[in-house]
């Protein structure tokens, strides 16, 4: 690829076009809004309301099954606070990572494989836009909304969680420092990882559905499981969180850079 500077007007034009088109597709937009809403608004609300109810829900038996380092700070809390802190402070963390992973994967599939499916790729390749600019535009089309939606979702989550749990907690307990690492370091890394996977998958897939099936049904759940397992550790120690985040970023950057090498007009046109 050329080593010239990125041509931002072209990149912006492609992003604008792709995001305008995606914004009109209910099949893409609705899941991207409903899933975060359920996980980051409805679930913490239900948990908060349950904790506020008169019935004390004892989670100590559950906590006895999880690693001591994770359970100890929760066990020190009053019983009524334990459920809220356990679920909203800890167990939702891996679920939260579904948002950047899902959004980036869905948008990347639309941006890369979708061009083939809609038969718009060839006319795009005949335009005077550098391969690198086109690749960057497609990456950003998926990455930027994924990260923004995650951040907006987290702000909603923090507001809902703290508000609903206030009568029990009497303090703001989300975000913690570890949650901030999760939001600003791990979540964008996970978005990039989902993107990297879909870039590779989309190179072979002929339709968005094929890319989603390959990436969404096979590879991403495995990544999600790995990240989910790791996120328990993330909330134990800030350094572990940073290291796990860095690991995710390294894999994501490697996948994207491999994808970039294959993202040439010649290779794309040869598969048309």
């Amino acid at each position: 690829m050329a080593r010239e500077r990125l041509h931002w007007p072209s990149i912006r034009a492609v992003m604008r076009k792709d995001l305008s088109a995606v914004g009109r597709s209910k099949a893409i937009v609705l899941p991207m809004l409903i899933v975060p809403f359920l996980m980051l608004v409805v679930l913490p609300t239900v948990i908060g309301l349950a904790a506020r109810s008169q019935t004390n829900i004892d989670v100590s038996r559950f906590l006895s099954n999880i690693p001591g380092d994770l359970a100890r700070p929760i066990l020190r809390l009053p019983v009524r606070e334990q459920l809220i802190v356990l679920v909203n402070g800890y167990l939702l963390a891996p679920l939260f990572l579904i948002v950047p992973l899902m959004v980036s994967a869905v948008l990347a599939a639309d941006a890369f494989a979708g061009e083939k499916e809609r038969r718009t790729l060839e006319s795009l390749l005949h335009l005077p836009i550098a391969e690198r600019d086109l690749f960057v535009a497609k990456l950003l089309t998926a990455f930027v909304p994924a990260v923004l939606l995650s951040w907006i979702g987290f702000v909603c989550f923090a507001l809902v969680t703290n508000t609903v749990a206030w009568p029990v907690m009497h303090r703001i307990f989300v975000p913690t420092k570890l949650w901030l690492v999760m939001i600003f370091w791990v979540a964008p890394g996970v978005a990039a990882l989902g993107l990297g996977v879909m870039v590779r998958v989309s190179a072979r897939a002929r339709t968005t559905q094929e890319a989603n099936q390959l990436g969404g049904a096979v590879i991403l759940p495995l990544i999600f499981l790995a990240v989910g397992q790791a996120s328990g550790l993330l909330l134990v120690d800030i350094w572990i969180a940073l290291v796990v985040g860095a690991f995710v970023w390294v894999i994501a950057v490697w996948l994207c850079s491999r994808g970039a090498h294959r993202f040439t007009r010649d290779q794309l046109a040869a598969r048309l």
Binding site: P9, S10, K17, S123, D266
Partner: protein
Amino acid sequence: MNAAIEAHELSRTFGPTVALDGLSFELQAGEVLALLGPNGAGKTTTVRLLNGVLRPDRGGARVLGLDPVTDGEALRRRTGVLTENAGLDDRLTARENLTFVARIRGLEGRDGERRVDELLGRFGMSDRAGDKVQGFSTGQRKRLALARALLHDPEVLFLDEPTSGLDPAATRDVIDLIGSLATEHGRTVVLCTHFLPEAGRLAHRMAVLHGGHLEAFGRPDELAAELWDGLEADVDLGAPIDDRTTALVAALDGVTAATATADGVRVRVRDREVLAALVALLVGREVPVYGAVPRVPTLEDVYFAIEERKERDRGA
């Protein structure tokens, strides 16, 4: 004159499939080239190679003096392409599809908007400018895609089936437009098409591809001269020719073929003098002759003759 397009031994394979094998030709600025051949002949591959979308395995090309491999981006700023399927985003409106390309081509702001409006108007799409392309007919898509290809007033146009899906009036308009782009504005056009009459009306040169090989290249009349000796003419006798008169015509010195038609006979003769002698002979034998019109082979005739020759060669 400077060649607008030069291809030299241009070749490309996809795995075991030879898509194009040693294509060489030269096209002058302002000329229309009809790139003809059956499906899979290599027409689309040729366009992709000439516009720097594909890289050749062997050989090379220069388009507007630029190498498509090394100067692809600069070249694509000066070329316009209409792909076989219109390649429009169904989820965007007609205007948005054009505006996107205008932005990529550096036509920003008011200039871009003005140009988009101008082309929407020129192709009769102003009233559908704000509608999503999803509901458009094939003809409307084709017109919009043509407008997109012309946004930046390109010097070279690659048009793949520009009239497929268009109604007769729109077809005529597009053909007139392509003709005027070449003749009045000096634009070079490479026209891939299966519609031979349309190619015949527009093309200064024709190239016939078959299985990636160039079977013929040149002006249709030059190729006709290579294919056939002498002159073909329709002799109008007011009725189909009878066997006795056919034998009389065929026996005349200089007549190489005689075939009955609905109105008389189609003959192939050595030259115009033989045609005059033939008319005199028929009149002398009191056979009424209402007319004798030399028939200039059409591009269609030339194309099918080349295809037949190809089949004969394959049989041999």
